[in-house]
């Protein structure tokens, strides 16, 4: 079973979805329990995965070497023969390293919370829970896939359940919000698809090609000499086109030796419409594609709409995990495949990160709707992820990954907070409430934990994350000269503004004497039920534990991140030099 642990993470919810669809109507009451059970199984599985992974010093770190991933599952899925153009190989290829293992854990945690939160769903439950499980499977798949096709399949298929979940069970403007979400993210997917098509037609799988031209018997007993031999032959055009095995494997795409000379993404001198910029343009397209998902300003506008309209459980999943696919995708795909872009565009990425931090915070300060406020605070926090990534220092990227995990937990809490009020009164206008603390003390305590964690108070996970991002951002100018120090300084403004909008909201909504707008069902405003408490408490504990013991997470992330930073920076600079030389010629 341990060989297919990762597959189980994907297929358990899928099977649950099918079971839910097949159950007779009389058992509709049990659907939520099935879903909860599934997510708990997923959580147990992912904890098992974490225990199985080797975290000791010198353990394999992954990133760009297939052998260094852990729990790898690699099966041939498709081998399409294209005659004179060789074959296309698509693999069912899953694996974990420091970049994605924490994301898998986060997904499992947040999905459990989401499942408990969806107990509130009262109508059309069958559809809801089936879609919820499909969503869960696609998210898991997206984080673990190491084959571009497989990744894209999960990435894009995720939109469908999300579209229906927002569109059917959402708030009053759900129809608008769901289609806006779909169109925006599909636009991002198209950017990614463009590069994907370009990549797989440019890149070969050296191992499979070696088998095809008869250097060795099978892929299993391939040696590094074989691979090098194939790459040498490729360079001098010795391999006949029909023997080339084109691949979608992300790992093969990260090695510049696997590019067919003359193909668009081959680094160096080529003649094409893009000219020598092709790789930089490809980086940009991929980056924009993922930035829409993240979301970065100015392509963030789908997020507030989707969040405000989505049912609580879906908001939790959306903010808690879906946004992280954007951040993770940036690291795994554009940064790893086109590292020169990471160097070349770092200033701009940093700038947009800073803009997101400050702009998101300002809008959050001005908004009147609690859910919208949280949505914009997400925009602001995702800005930190971008800034950390842009700095391309070990601290910055550790911080970005830490921020993704921490924000996943905290934003889940924040949307639950909004959900609690919405469930009772169906109104989220901040000025309609005052002094909720006197009516709902336990709830307000949770609110304080979440707010303080989110604004980055020491002792909570948000603080560690932002601290690392700032360390990276400040260090960058002297260490690698990628982003200027003023960006780090300006982005500290985000912290102050964050404190401002959270504390102000706290003051307006929760502190003081109780008052509520008289149209509202005031008597509904009861304190947390035990079901709600079960959701809040673990999240609160996790954010505090991660605030006090950051090494729990950093031990998992940092070996891979250190390797990743070295890899991206060194190959990036090397490639960039070649490209710039070719451009200037």
């Amino acid at each position: 079973m341990s060989e297919s642990l990762l597959s189980l993470l994907i297929f358990v919810p899928l099977i649950a979805a099918v079971v839910i669809l097949l159950l007779p109507k009389t058992l509709n009451g049990s659907l939520k329990w099935i879903t909860l059970g599934t997510t708990i199984i997923q959580l147990i599985l992912s904890i098992l995965v974490m225990l199985k992974l080797d975290w000791s010093a010198g353990a394999p770190v992954g990133v760009n070497n297939q052998g260094n991933f852990q729990l790898v599952e690699n099966h041939q899925w498709l081998n399409l023969d294209l005659g004179s153009l060789g074959t296309i190989s698509i693999q069912y290829f899953l694996g974990l390293d420091g970049l994605n293992s924490t994301m898998v854990l986060l997904t499992a945690i947040v999905m459990v919370i989401g499942a408990i939160s969806s107990f509130e769903i009262k109508d059309k439950r069958k559809g809801f829970f089936a879609l919820f499980n499909v969503l869960s499977a696609t998210i898991m798949g997206c984080f673990m896939a190491l084959d571009f096709f497989l990744f894209y399949l999960f990435f894009e298929f995720m939109l469908l359940p999300m579209y229906f979940l927002i569109g059917i069970w959402g708030g009053p403007r759900r129809e608008y919000a769901s289609i806006k979400f779909f169109i925006y993210t599909l636009l991002g997917s198209i950017f990614i698809l463009i590069v994907m098509i370009g990549l797989y037609t440019s890149v070969i799988d050296p191992a499979a090609t070696a088998v095809k031209i008869g250097l060795t018997e099978s892929v299993e007993n391939i040696t590094t000499e074989n691979v090098e031999q194939v790459q040498e032959m490729l360079k001098v055009n010795q391999i006949k086109p029909e023997n080339l095995v084109r691949t979608f494997s992300l790992i093969s795409m990260m090695d510049a030796e696997n590019y067919i000379p003359g193909s668009i993404f081959f680094k160096g001198e080529i003649s094409s419409f893009f000219r020598e910029n092709a790789r930089l343009i490809a980086f940009l397209l991929l980056f924009i594609g993922f930035a829409i998902k993240l979301p970065a300003v100015p392509v963030h506008t789908w997020l507030p709409d989707a969040h405000v309209q989505a049912p609580t459980a879906i908001s939790v999943v959306l903010a808690g995990i879906l946004l992280k696919i954007g951040g993770y995708g940036i690291l795994r795909i554009p940064y790893s495949i086109f590292p020169e872009g990471a160097i070349y565009f770092s200033w701009w990425i940093g700038l947009f990160g800073v803009i997101a931090i400050v702009y998101g915070a300002f809008v959050a300060l001005g908004t009147h709707n609690l859910k919208k406020l949280i949505a914009y605070s997400s925009v602001s926090h995702m800005g930190f992820v971008m800034l950390g990534i842009a700095s391309l220092t070990a601290e910055g990227i550790n911080g970005a990954l830490y921020q993704m995990f921490s924000h996943g937990i905290i934003s889940a809490m924040l949307f639950l907070i909004a959900g609690v009020v919405y469930y009772r009164t169906h109104n989220l206008e901040i000025e309609n409430y005052k002094g909720l603390i006197s009516k709902m003390p336990v709830y307000s305590a949770m609110v304080m934990v979440a707010f303080f964690a989110s604004l980055g108070l020491p002792g909570f996970s948000g603080f560690i994350a932002e601290l690392f991002v700032f360390l990276g951002a400040f260090k960058s100018e002297s260490a690698n000269g990628l982003i200027p120090i003023w960006m780090a300084i300006v982005s500290t403004l985000g912290l102050i503004l964050g404190a401002a909008y959270y504390l102000w909201t706290l003051q307006r909504m929760y502190l003081g004497n109780f008052w509520a707008q008289k149209d509202l069902a005031v008597d509904q405003l009861t304190d947390l039920s035990s079901r709600e408490l079960i959701m809040f408490v673990p999240l609160a504990i996790i954010t505090i534990v991660l605030g006090l013991f950051p090494h729990l997470l950093l031990d998992m992330i940092s070996p891979s991140v250190n390797y990743f930073v070295n890899f991206v920076e060194s190959t990036g600079r090397e490639n960039l030099e070649i490209i710039l030389q070719a451009i200037n010629k």
């Binding site: 498709l78 023969d81 005659g83 894009e156 298929f157 469908l160 759900r174 599909l186 419409f273």
Partner: protein
């Protein structure tokens, strides 16, 4: 060919071995008329059965005739090229689906049976015409086979015998004759330039003619073909005809004549390959038509309220995508074309089958009336959502794979030639998926997002099974596209 009469006769007799399928269709055509004379109105369902068995048997004949003649036969009138057998199978398969759709349609009135004989026999004639189109190697043969298809199509369009049908049929006839005229004029120019009707001979002769007149002549000839595949700007008839004609036939119109038009286009392009390689104007023309079709199809489809009209415009857009698959002029392009066409058959028949069921229950095909249908009939709702997702071109359906192949071959053409034009088409086509999403999602949108307590739509189990059979391949061929591509590769490479 200056052969003596007996040589000619021998040649013709020898050629017949490649025409079993067509001969059988001709026999079937006549047989259906004759059988109809002896049947009372009640028993006319038998006709469908006869046609069904006839077409099923035809599959066997198609494989048998296969690729027995590589060189032109029947005195150079016909030829069998690599794709012929694929196209014939496709027409035959679509034909079977149409007849099944006719038999599956629910509540029929007595008088509906009255014209069954004519319907089926004329329908067989269309398939015959389509088969001949894919084999035509001679301008006259091209024209005759296209007209055989067109004239029977005009007649069949009005087979509902209502006002709308008459309007649609008349429009079809008027636009059809005009575009036939244009095509005929182009062909006469080609004949005038070269003194020959046989494509390969024309291609040789054209070397001595200035290019501009050739481009004009070819452009006019292609006009008629664009009309058949309803590519912009020759698309205007499409929505009206789709709205007017009987639904099973519309499903057929949206697939088979389109494939045949593409096949003839391929014959022309392959015949004039050297000319086109030197003179890019024809490729630009095709690219322009493809882009325009995608654009017009997509933007018009957004505004439609009737499902059939929406699918009519969508079929215009899909013609554009089919043309995109031709433009690279490469083996992978053709392979992607065949894949696209095969998937297209399933997508379109599935959606029109659903519309047929819906129309029978609710009286028309307004998408608004599908409100709440997915909530009362979840299975149908899910199936149609899958079909619409496939039409948009998203995973996990084969619609995505088909588009991926088309765009990959375009990219490769760009990579090999470095022509920005290919890249522009590539990007243009991809971004149009975004617009397509907007209107294809309308049907699932009404089905699931809007409540309607009065939604009484129901389907019988057998009808659902038919729908599943058409939808399932869309998923299967996503996970296992090699099942299909293996079939093409056998004769492509």
């Amino acid at each position: 060919m200056n052969l003596s009469l007996s040589d000619k006769l021998n040649h013709i007799l020898e050629s017949i071995s490649s025409l079993y399928a067509e001969g059988w269709l001709a026999v079937l055509f006549i047989a259906l008329i004759i059988i109809e004379l002896f049947l009372s109105n009640k028993k006319k369902l038998i006709l469908g059965l006869v046609a069904l068995i006839g077409l099923a048997f035809n599959f066997f004949l198609i494989q048998k005739a296969g690729t027995s003649h590589e060189a032109p036969f029947m005195l150079g009138l016909l030829t069998i090229h690599k794709g012929t057998i694929f196209f014939k199978n496709l027409f035959n398969f679509s034909g079977i689906l149409v007849i099944l759709m006719m038999m599956f349609s629910g509540d029929k009135k007595q008088e509906d049976y009255k014209n069954y004989g004519e319907f089926y026999s004329l329908f067989i004639a269309i398939i015959l015409g389509l088969n001949l189109m894919t084999m035509a190697n001679n301008l006259l043969m091209v024209y005759l086979s296209i007209e055989l298809v067109s004239i029977t199509s005009y007649v069949l369009t009005v087979f509902k015998f209502d006002k709308k049908g008459a309007e649609g049929g008349l429009k079809y006839l008027l636009f059809g004759t005009i575009s036939s005229g244009v095509m005929l004029y182009g062909m006469s120019l080609l004949y005038g330039f070269s003194g020959s009707l046989i494509l390969s001979e024309i291609a040789i002769q054209l070397a001595h003619v200035p290019t501009v007149p050739i481009i004009i002549a070819l452009g006019m000839t292609f006009g008629g073909l664009f009309f058949k595949i309803s590519a912009a700007p020759f698309h205007i008839w499409t929505p009206d005809v789709y709205e007017a004609a009987p639904t099973p036939l519309v499903a057929f119109f949206s697939v088979a004549p389109k494939a045949a038009g593409i096949a003839v286009l391929l014959t022309f392009l392959q015949g004039f390959e050297s000319f086109i390689q030197d003179e890019k104007a024809i490729i630009y023309l095709l690219g322009f038509v493809a882009g325009l079709s995608i654009l017009i199809g997509n933007f018009s489809a957004i505004w439609q309220k009737s499902a059939k009209r929406m699918l009519a415009y969508s079929s215009i857009a899909h013609s554009g995508f089919l043309l995109l698959a031709i433009i690279p002029f490469s083996a992978s392009g053709y392979s992607s074309l065949y894949f696209y066409l095969s998937i297209y058959v399933f997508m379109n028949f599935a959606s029109f089958l659903f519309i047929q069921f819906f129309e029978e229950k609710s009286g028309d095909d307004q998408m608004e009336k599908m409100q709440g249908l997915g909530l009362t009939n979840p299975l149908t709702g899910i199936l149609i959502t899958v079909v619409m997702i496939a039409l948009t071109g998203l995973p996990i359906t084969a619609g995505f794979t088909a588009k991926l192949f088309v765009f990959s071959s375009l990219w490769e053409a760009y990579q090999n030639s470095g022509e920005g034009f290919m890249l522009a088409l590539f990007l243009f086509g991809l971004f149009n998926t975004l617009i397509a999403l907007f209107y294809y999602l309308k049907i699932p949108f009404f089905m699931f997002f809007r409540q309607n307590e009065n939604q009484h739509f129901t389907v019988q189990p057998l009808q659902t099974a038919f729908l599943i059979l058409l939808t399932l391949p869309l998923l299967i061929f996503f996970f296992k596209p090699d099942l299909l591509t293996g079939f093409f590769n056998a004769f492509l490479f």
